[in-house]
Amino acid sequence: MSPRDRAPAGTGPERDRPSPLGELLLGAQLALRGGREVVLRSVLTAIGVGVATAGLLLAAGLPTALDHLAERNAARMDHQVAPHPVPPSGDDTLLIGIATTLHAGQEVHGRLLRAEGSDPPLPPGVTEIPGPGELLLSPALADLLDAPGTEALRSRFDHPVVGEIGPEGLLGPHELAYYLGSEDLAVENAGIRITAFGGEPGPVVRGPVVVLLGLVGVVVMLTPVVVFLGAAVRFGGEQRERRLAALRLMGADRRAVRRVAAGETLPGVGLGLVLGAVLFYAGRPIVETVGVGPGLYAGDVAPHPVLGALVFAGVPLLALWVVLASLRGVVVEPLGTVRRAERPRPRVWWRLLLLVLGVVLIWLSMDLRTAGRLGLPGGGGLPMTAIGLLAALFGTTAVLPWLVDRLFRRASGGPLALQLAQRRLAAAGGGPTRAVSGIVVTVAGAIALQSLFANAWADASVTLADTAQEAYAENEFGPSRFQVQAELWMPPADDDPAGTVARVPGVEAAAAFRTVWGTTGDGTDVPVHIADCDVLRQMADLPACSPGDVFSALPGLGAGDTLMVRPREDATESPWVLPPVSGFEGALVEHPWSATGHTARDVVLATPEAAAAPAEIAARSTVWIRADPAVSGMEEGLRHTVGSLDPTSRLTVPITTVVNPAMADIRDALVAGALACLTVIAAGLVVGTVEQVRERRRVHAVLTAFGTRRSTLVASVVWQTTLPVLLGIVLATAVGTALGVMVQRVAGLPVRFIPVETLVIAGAGVGVAALTTLLAVPALLRTMRPEGLRSE
Amino acid sequence: MTLGQTFLGLLETRSQHGYDLKRAYDERFAGQRPLAYGQVYATLSRLLKHGLVEVEAVEAGAGPERKRYTVTDSGVTDVERWLATPESPEPYLQSTLYTKVVLALLTGRPADGILDVQRAEHLRLMRELTRRKTAGDLSDQLICDHALFHLEADLRWLELTAARLNDLADEVRGR
């Protein structure tokens, strides 16, 4: 006798057993035909799932994007892959000159190009080597030059533009880059001979640190989505529970009901996945508009196949988990009685344990890091810190239910509206708690990270002087109190760089000298600085100087000796027979940043009349400049003037602070991310509040009949939405700051606060709460109509 | 007595022979117990005596069944007064009320008025019983409740009938 035959309620041996799949499909059908509420819930679920999917696909695209970036970077390697020793020029060789410069703190990738034959190697993204004086620009640089206010920059690129650099030759759409054809480029000056572009891409940073940071990011990103989904799947919950009760009456068991409920979310989840994919692909071009550094091409962001598959499998599971979690504590009985099992009062001790664990982990990691006991490069304690941060954050959220319970359930003071709001929040169960948790995880995480970055930023921005004046004063060198140095590898033919520079507004004095390299008979290398007596006297304490003089105290160097002279390493040498040489006392004047303590014993100073450098040698020029930093635009003017003289030049300017712009970008991104998360959480809160308001429409109608002032009910809804956000923000600020301070303390860093960003986030939170309320109030006012009194 | 008013009402629709009157009554109101001829003629002669009906014509042949009766003005007034007067609320009142309603419909009078008046009377009694009940002891309460529940049942029937008056009118007049 089979068990089925014995089944007491069996209506026959061939009675079909309902299959789990069938129940899922039944649920899906109910969702498609279930009327406005169910459709709305499906749409909300789809939005939540869509945002999560799109965000995660973006994250899954990051490894690929990094790979692409590294590949493109490697593909245009030039001087790094220049053959050594320098090969002879040939049909297939190309001379390049590094002409990378700065514009408004942003790097402009620049190369001078000179083909030495008919078949030169082409840089990626370039179809033909530009002729002399011809310019190839990246689109971003072309746009910049077209923009108003860049006249000074434009003067440097006053060449015919013959084309554009293709995407394969750029790091990203926002990279400023140019190739300039040159006929002066030679191995003797700034030229580097190469036979091909491209090298091996360097290893992309992929260690546990990156994985962990990615994990933290994903967790922080998913938390608000879970909050939103939690609210979305609850939408129309009352109706759903009635429907499920009807199914129970028809003989569905509890598990079947859960499966049907899960099935009801399937259309929303499916739609959400499609929406997510569409959002991702439609939103990808937006990536190109993000101008952080060179930026990314849309095509760079392609989900890693494995990670992409994980996203498409993981997000539905997450949604399903949220649905089933929302049904926990709800017992669907056949007779429509839906009983919310009394949740056990939250216990506080194990929740605190997680928090303590997090704190201890941070402490330990910092201890290890400062002690350097792990001996790992780049701060081996970072993974531990990250885990500790996560544990502390989730520990905090674990303490929250207890805190919310304390604050809302027990509260008895305050005006009626506040009391109503608190009771509703307590009755709403997980929703507000989840919202507060979400805010704490995202905002506190952002604030804690910001505190870390506040130090990183402080490290990155080394304050050398409080004002530009001070910085310039500190950098003064030589009797003429120069502060600025410009090095010109390809000095122009007119050969008066000092005169040109002196015409820049704000420049008070300029002196130029040339430098060649000489080798003595016994093989000692010595720099030879060539300038007229005026300049030489500013370089060293010379006894007397007249044209034709040479000064040095290099042992074994005297009149009649021959020095083999070349403009730079690997260049062709030419002999120079020395005239009589006299020594000088004291140190050579040098720019403080490149000072190596030269004296007369290891340097040669020569007047041009001594003919140290043959006319054909294109010797490097150095210009020393005294300028007034108070004159606005002086530095930019200087940069452009020097750049116009020689694109391959290098300008050294005193600086007050060293700012790493990427750090500022990260800070902005953190604030923006926190705000976005806050918005998603608030949206979830709106959905939850609207849903609760709708469920309470009869109560509201009754309260209205009782003569309750509209303002009282509106105020209660204001409180209802504002309290969780405020509580979340306050907690997040406290926890985030505390964690940040702790991390800084333990790391032995000075404790820094970031009041501005914290205030921005907190203020935005208040704004979001207000907006939330505004969105929930119309629904409330609708429920206050007397129609709600009519029994249904 | 109610038989008399019923006859008057039936005659108001059209004058007819005693035999037809009996048939009409049996069909509508008698249920399982048809009227005895003796009862019909006794009633008719009582009505004749009070001047509520009169003989319109006598057809060929002898015997009371050959007389065609018709209602007089005072007969109509009598029906009207009867219809307007609520029955004393008591159990098993429906047959009388039903007769009244059907007759009102047959004679083109507003039947819902009958029901309204009756409801008012029922409620009056119910209020009195309720008052007695709230003032009295448990046995009083039980006795009053018994009456109240019966009266309530009547009232429910009244409501139901009121709701179905249009259907009933169609049915009554359709015959």
Binding site: R423, A705, F706 | R119, M126, R127, T130
Partner: protein
């Protein structure tokens, strides 16, 4: 054998009617295409209990809502204590409902998140009474209605009859001059229903409040002093046919 037709209002008014406290006449109201009230009128005298009866859909609830100033009629006049309620502002109506009217509904009227005590105290707090004093008064009213032990339970933990008694306490706590009850026993069995209507009418009579109770149950209506019948949006003159 023949009795004079009974007249409405005839037999049981405590004293001479005097002037009505609340008068509604010629009331019309439609919701969309549904004509809920055609031509309804009702006079309410101080301290009397009036039952509004009629089949479902006859407009009796709408009549009650109009009289209570919850719903504004499309046409007709409502006068309460010399004031025109049709023209009164929403603020004024709310204030009136808070202070002079009490309400009792069939179900779902207690705020589920508040305890019974807090629910009963609600109208007083809406009127500005400090919380402690309001709850003190509420406790007294709960005791008076035999549900004192429910003070700290939530409505969800009460039975239907207990909940309605709590609601009666809430309707009467402001000592209103008129209590509007809309099918107050509709969701209860007869024993509990009678208990509720009896407590309502007795407590109202004690405090001199007039009551308008909408009901379709004759036994409930029997607790009233008189009844008004609604049919198809009209109130009937119950004086007799014709």
């Amino acid at each position: 054998m023949r009795r004079p037709a009974p007249r409405a209002l005839s037999d049981r008014l405590p004293e001479a009617p005097g002037t009505p406290l609340l008068t509604g006449s010629g009331l019309r109201k439609s919701f969309g295409l549904t004509q809920a009230l055609e031509d309804a009128s009702l006079d309410l005298y101080p301290g009397e209990v009036v039952a509004v009866m009629g089949p479902s859909g006859s407009g009796k609830s709408t009549l009650l809502h109009c009289l209570a100033g919850v719903v504004r009629p499309d046409a007709g006049t409502i006068e309460y204590d010399g004031q025109d309620l049709v023209a009164a502002s929403d603020t004024r109506l709310s204030a009136l409902r808070r202070s002079e009217f009490g309400f009792l509904f069939q179900f779902g009227q207690l705020v589920p998140e508040l305890s019974c005590l807090e629910n009963v105290a609600l109208p007083l707090r809406l009127g500005g009474r400090p919380r402690r004093r309001a709850e003190h008064a509420a406790a007294e009213w709960l005791d008076r209605l035999d549900v004192g032990e429910l003070a700290h339970k939530t409505p969800g933990e009460c039975s239907g009859g207990q909940g309605q008694r709590v609601a009666v306490a809430r309707a009467l706590i402001t000592r209103p001059r008129v209590v509007f009850a809309d099918e107050p026993t509709g969701a209860l069995d007869s024993l509990n229903g009678e208990r509720v209507i009896r407590m309502l009418t007795e407590a109202a009579r004690e405090s001199g409040a007039a009551v308008v109770v909408v009901t379709h149950e004759a036994r409930v209506a029997a607790y009233a002093d008189r009844e008004v019948v609604c049919r198809d949006g009209r109130t009937l003159d119950t004086g007799g046919p014709g």
